[in-house]
Subunit: 295 residues, 2 copies
């Protein structure tokens, strides 16, 4: 049997077919149909699935489950998308709609950072871990927790809002209405709030530009604080960083590890590493959802 | 069979005998022999145990295990006290020493906040919880986590350092060498740093003193930030507050719950409550240690 995983992003929908060992057999991607009704999104997904199956010479009867990663908040039963602002999905019963679209195939949903953490647990940076934390450093800050060797979706199923853990008392205003959330200073917003683009700052800093280096170092100060906080609380084996900003590579990770070590007076055992599956983590993790009863 | 639990504090050693349902049968307390060698402490503990047994007409043969809560850091195997500054214990193999002192009885150690969380899980505010967080607001800030319905001692067994989660970037200097840890603004230190005593400020604030109210409200601002942070990450069913400052009662809890609600834009499901076992949580939790294999 095979599984299909989708990762619905505000820019692209990515998808793939995996085998029972969660190896990718075929994959594809399409632009997210921005501004269209959710029915158009469902049509695109059906079309992508059919293409994936025909690429791999599979039939729908071979598909044991479909999993979908969504950048937003789900209800506690993981059946309805409560809010996915980038997709324009609000109170959308996506599981039921997809099960109508794909008759006879069970569909599972997950928050995209949760799906990515699950992907990393089975095939990436978290293999063998009991306790691990994923930070996705992009437009916002997403987070996925592995606890007890399993995906943790919040104690009451409300999800994990790593980006909205407080880092700065009375800090910058966050989209959530609060101040000083990790997201305000560890995502691309930190650069945007200064009228800059993350990639531009990082490129200039790499080239030795003094002002860009100052800004980048300030960013590292906040990010290391966030990592130390989570490490103090959970004592994880691995903290993995994904998302656009993490693509700065060693230029980010080398000084970051030094700062984390410096600030970890009581202990410094965990490893801070890049994610291994990159932007495939979401659909791989989604494909795993159907086979795993997490939480 | 019965179990004995000890809670070694820098001021008092508290102890109790519990039955298999962890009900207290007898209890006692002695001043901690400050400045004395650890051998004196062991003698006091032996003496307390003998007194407890004679009070309840028990024999040492009835004791199935002894548990000890220690205000400090233990090694990952929970056998050696690495540092308990208030006790003057450093790299002390307390488990082995106590098993010599109490021949034939297995001894378990735990950090005091962990023991208290375990006590609350079995007999107090966390009964029936899968995910819960204990804050002890005293000289410092201690923390105990219940995850998956069990005591969590850190992903790699290094313990949970809730007091050293960052709350304020470049905030007040902490004893750990870092800045802005929760402990710097949510413990008695917040008041001490202003040359005041927590109890005095709270009493004056209750009496309507304007300056004391301002200080107390500032404290509530930090404490609510800390609670919201942990809630965003773990989505616990219950957050319980213990320790001296929590004894301010409704004067603390009523405005605190309002602030937490206000700051929890995305969700506000958990309950913020006082601990139920008060200063007995430590020895009750310690007594439970021997029967439970946590982590």
């Amino acid at each position: 049997m095979i599984q299909i995983g989708f990762d619905i992003g505000g820019t692209y929908i990515k998808a793939g077919v995996v085998d029972d060992q969660y190896n990718i057999l075929t994959e594809n991607a399409r632009p997210f149909p921005r501004g269209e009704n959710h029915k158009v999104v469902l049509d695109v997904m059906k079309d992508m699935a059919s293409e994936l199956l025909s690429l791999g010479k599979f039939k729908y009867e071979d598909v044991s489950s479909i999993g979908v990663a969504v950048p937003g908040t789900l209800d506690a039963r993981n059946e309805t998308v409560l809010h996915a602002y980038n997709l324009g999905f609000h109170h959308l019963p996506l599981k039921a709609l997809l099960e109508e679209k794909f008759p006879g195939i069970p569909v599972s949903l997950a928050n995209d950072a949760n799906a990515a953490a699950l992907g990393e647990l089975y095939k990436g940076a978290f293999v063998g871990c009991k306790t691990a934390v994923l930070f996705t450093l992009g437009t916002g800050v997403g987070g996925g927790l592995i606890l007890g060797g399993k995906l943790f979706n919040g104690g009451m199923g409300h999800g994990v809002e790593l980006g909205h853990v407080r880092l700065i008392h009375d800090g910058p205003l966050c989209t959530c209405g609060n101040r000083g959330c990790i997201e305000t200073v560890c995502s691309a917003k930190f650069f945007e709030n200064q009228g800059l683009e993350a990639k531009e700052v990082i490129d200039k800093a790499k080239a030795g530009d003094k002002r860009a280096l100052e800004i980048f170092n300030e960013y590292l100060g906040y990010l290391s604080d966030a990592i130390v906080s989570v490490s103090m609380l959970l004592d994880p084996e691995v903290i993995a960083l994904g998302g656009g900003i993490s693509q700065a590579g060693d230029f980010l990770f080398d000084p970051l590890r030094e700062l984390v070590k410096e600030k970890s007076f009581f202990k410094f055992p965990h490893k801070t590493v890049p994610t291994e599956l990159g932007n495939k983590a979401g659909f791989i993790g989604a494909a795993i959802l159907g086979n795993e009863k997490n939480n």
